[in-house]
Symmetry: C2
Subunit: 308 residues, 2 copies
């Protein structure tokens, strides 16, 4: 049977609990602080933040809100009026260590009083330094999660992420991508609502496992001031993407969303240098060049999974 909004909300809330427990274990020291909030127009959420040994600034937000559908959505869907309900979990982790990447995940569900609903979300990684083996490993794991639901998902959602996490004014990607998807329902996909719900929850439950290798492989490596400087520079680009191009952030700020929960995604510190110079033949240059490809280059084994 198709899950209803209360079931989806409850499951999203438990997902937040499971992810926070997993991250506390991974970090080893940090403990989440919870900040519950209510939305004047209906609903609310629990914003949880952590500062630990590995994670310099992390947030795991759960929300379930409802009310009159915002005009922007009504306009896009050519509707006069409707009520909406939206619930989801979103995560951004900024690590101390410059060799550990930033990671972002979001799973969300939206429905309106006219019966229209959709699932959206994704997971993507923003390394300060791109390690190709680790990046391919991440994409392989994400592909496996996708393939368990639908073999068309990974190739479609991987391209969607490459396009979405792109900074036109820098002509570069935010990171190595991952997957991004939106407005999935039983009509757009060959899956039932219940199966789509299973997919997003399964993705959420794999979040900690997806991040773990990046943490364990790097946390004990030493790093230099130059690597920290590069990290701050890359974090500046992260800020630029989120504030200038990210549709979710824009939509949230425009429609009076909870600012502190939306901007939880911003790094603890970031830096901007005019015409930042990247030396040739450096690790920084290597990363910059990979980001400038416009898409994360997949090895053959991960391509064309459609008909395998």
């Amino acid at each position: 049977m198709d899950p209803n909004k209360t079931e989806i909300e409850n499951e999203m809330q438990s997902l937040q609990d499971r992810i926070c427990a997993g991250l506390e274990k991974l970090d080893g020291e940090g403990r989440f602080k919870e900040d519950p909030w209510k939305r004047k127009e209906g609903g609310g959420g629990r914003t949880r933040t952590i500062q630990g040994a590995i994670i310099e600034k992390g947030g795991v937000n759960f929300s379930a809100v409802h009310g009159k559908t915002p005009d922007k959505i009504l306009k896009a869907l050519k509707l006069k009026e409707s009520d909406f309900f939206a619930t989801g979990v979103s995560i951004v982790l900024h690590p101390f260590h410059p060799l550990i990447p930033i990671i972002h995940m979001n799973v969300r569900y939206f429905e309106m009083s006219n019966g229209v609903y959709w699932f959206g979300g994704g997971v993507d990684v923003t390394p300060h330094y791109i390690d190709m083996d680790a990046s391919v490993g991440f994409h392989e794991s994400v592909k496996k999660i996708c393939d368990a639901s639908d073999r068309s998902f990974y190739p479609r959602f991987k391209s969607w992420a490459d396009k979405y996490f792109y900074l036109p004014h820098r002509k570069e990607n935010r990171g190595i991508g991952g997957i991004f998807f939106d407005r999935l329902d039983h009509k757009t996909e060959n899956l039932t609502k219940s199966q789509l719900f299973d997919f997003v929850i399964h993705l959420g439950d794999q979040f900690v496992s997806l991040y773990t290798p990046f943490v364990l492989d790097n946390k004990d490596k030493s790093f230099s001031d130059r690597q920290k400087e590069w990290q701050f520079h890359r974090r500046g680009r992260y800020v630029e993407f989120n504030l200038v191009w990210d549709k979710g952030t824009k939509f949230g700020l425009d429609t009076g969303g909870r600012t502190e929960s939306i901007l939880m995604s911003l790094p603890p510190e970031a830096a901007w240098t005019y015409n930042f110079e990247i030396p040739p033949n450096s690790k920084e240059r290597e990363t910059q060049e990979l980001l400038s490809l416009g898409e994360f280059p997949l090895p053959e084994k991960l391509q064309g999974s459609h008909d395998q």
Copy 2:
């Protein structure tokens, strides 16, 4: 006689020279580096940046560009096609010292092949800590500059700045404002084109004098880690304004402007803390409360200058 575009361009370029010379003197140590650039579609500019004893990161940009008028402007003016020419000087200075404010100025001229032209610009100050006496002094000086051209300018342009430099998602102003104006011509104002031109150049020439008292009154004061932390937090808000709300930045990035010159305005370093806590009865709280008024509160002597 009305100045033509070449005369305006030349004067803007000399204005950049005069301001840079004045700022080098004020800073005492830093020297501007020049980065000349060309725009593929026509024209170019000279971006000058400084890192000195007082100024941690400063930029003074001159540009004079031309080409096909961007669609956004054509649409707003209900025009089919036209060529445009735009020239101006824009400045942002981020000081090291948390008691010295950030300052921004811009003067610009725009014209189209159909004869339409306008002047725009303004000057405004973003203190990390608002000192009321210094702030009122700044507004008095700006009023004097305005009054020399037209006694309606200051009250109109002061309100315009309060509205423009506002962060809706934070419900706060960026700083203490100043003046902001746009689309001034001989039809909107009781002044000739030549008089409007004199006004913007005169404003530009007063820039260094406007900043000087803020620098001299504070540069030798000691400051604490907590004040630096607050400075980084306030700089975060500066980033948020420029990337989320500033129409000039948005327009520049959307129309393929020169990214490094546009984002020269971003601070050297900024910080974001989830739910940053401001203690009651602190200098930080005082500043926060003044920013939350929605407009900079003027003393009586500066109000209603219209009919004095």
